[in-house]
């Protein structure tokens, strides 16, 4: 039997809880690619992304997910990347994006 709600339905918990412990893999990801820390989420990577129009690929969002410890979500989305490297040529903060995505997808 399905649950009955009164006029609205409730999603599963969607808030980011920074009190929960950060996954250990996060630190190893930063060690493999320290330039990840320099991202300012400007969105340039996504604007030039050759996959972005057809797949859910926004590098800066992967990075935000990583920073919030949501590695599971991040890994799934990183697989859409074709590693063409356009984003890296346009990143104003010099993030080594190709290597970073590769490391993300292999976590």
């Amino acid at each position: 039997m399905t649950k009955q709600y009164f006029g609205f339905s409730v999603l599963e918990q969607r808030s980011v809880n920074l009190d929960s412990e950060m996954p250990a893999e996060l630190e190893s990801l930063y060690q493999k690619e320290p330039s990840l820390r320099a991202c300012i989420a400007c969105g340039n990577c996504a604007a030039v992304c050759s996959a972005g129009h057809f797949a859910e690929m926004q590098f800066y969002r992967l990075n935000v997910m990583a920073r919030r410890g949501l590695l599971h979500e991040m890994v799934g989305k990183a697989a859409a990347c074709m590693l063409c490297g356009r984003c890296q040529m346009s990143c104003p903060r010099g993030v080594n994006i190709r290597h970073a995505v590769l490391m993300m997808s292999q976590l």
Partner: protein, 346 residues
């Protein structure tokens, strides 16, 4: 011929630098300070962005020049409440009596820090773990204690940008412009003090406009591992054992975010301190508790003389939020305008 005299109201960085520049140009300078000690907010700061120079060093070097100059007379504890035009000079009024007279006046009354307790949702003045950025400077200067246990070597600390700035709810639509870089500076100082701490900056935009600011922000991310979260805090509430739970929208994730902290620092902006009421021959220097306006100089953008009336010049952050280099340069520029006025060029 006796030397021409200039009176300066306020002995913060703008007043001190104006005094030095004007004395070097040959004028007699009377420098009045309302408080019992000169230096303004600079006297309460720890180190300065972006080079981490001790604030005391800059103040000492300004004070040495002021005290060493025979033409500068510094008086503290004097509250000049108004000015009156008398022929070609200005009389300085202190509680209805004439305190002094000068050929020209520089108003350098500076700014007040926004009262953090007015943003009630952040609980400043209610929760001891919530402090203002100025109080954090006092802690760095060892004039105040950390609000968490001494044994806690890995505190979680949040810094909230734009407290009292860019906020119509507070009546302040402007950006105070020094707080973003102050937050970055303080975050780095915190990480230096507690290397095992986690420091989170909650920002709306990172306004890193000055020389070396963006570089310091980059360093804070890469070398000091400071976390930057885009989103304004909605509230802070007590979470037991003196800790604070904060809530915000993480606008990059598009999801709500919560976090428990050992200390929350509110980056308070700048507000007006003295709002002059200008009449034909008098100027009243009014202090407002809450809603003063910064001094407006007509035509300031096109480089018009920085004065309100002939012979009444205005220097520094009483015109609006400004950083120290801007204030010091403005004081020098004002001194030059003033010289042109007194020598009949302006």
């Amino acid at each position: 011929m006796t030397k021409q005299k200039v009176a300066i109201i306020g002995a913060g960085p703008a007043g001190l630098q104006s005094a030095v520049s004007l004395a070097e140009l040959g004028y007699e300078v009377d420098l009045y300070e309302k408080k019992s000690r000169p230096g303004g907010h600079l006297a309460e700061w720890h180190v300065l962005f972006p080079d981490m120079q001790p604030a005391g060093e800059l103040l000492d070097s300004l004070m040495q020049k002021v005290l060493a100059h025979p033409q500068i007379r510094l008086e503290t504890g004097v509250n000049i409440s108004g000015l009156e035009r008398a022929g070609n000079s200005w009389q300085l009024i202190q509680s209805d009596s004439v305190r002094g007279e000068a050929d020209a006046v520089v108003l350098a009354s500076g700014f007040k820090l926004f009262e953090a307790s007015k943003k009630e949702e952040y609980g400043h003045g209610i929760y001891p773990a919530v402090i203002s950025s100025a109080e954090l400077e006092a802690i760095f200067n060892r004039e105040k204690e950390w609000p968490f246990e001494k044994t806690n070597k890995s505190p979680k600390i949040g810094l909230v940008h734009c407290v009292g700035s860019r906020d119509a709810k507070c009546g302040n639509l402007y950006c105070s412009k020094a707080c973003c870089i102050t937050a970055v500076k303080q975050a780095i100082e915190l990480k230096k003090t507690f290397p095992a701490s986690e420091v989170y900056c909650f920002y709306m935009d990172m306004r890193m406009f000055g020389l070396g600011y963006e570089e310091l922000y980059h360093k804070a991310q890469l070398d000091y591992k400071v976390h930057f979260i885009r989103g304004r805090l909605s509230e802070a509430s007590p979470s037991g054992a003196g800790r604070i739970q904060v809530k915000a929208e993480d606008t990059l994730m598009g999801r709500p975010l919560k976090l428990t902290l050992d200390m929350l620092v509110l980056m308070v902006g700048m507000t007006a301190s003295v709002s002059p009421e200008v009449k034909e021959n008098t100027v009243e220097l009014k202090e407002y508790a809450n809603k003063g306006e910064f001094v407006k100089i007509p035509g300031a953008v096109i480089g018009a003389a920085q004065w309100l009336k002939p012979g009444l010049f205005v220097a520094g952050a009483c015109k609006g939020p400004a950083t120290l280099p801007e204030v010091l340069n403005d004081a020098r520029a004002t001194a030059l305008d003033l010289r042109n006025y007194l020598s009949g060029v302006l």
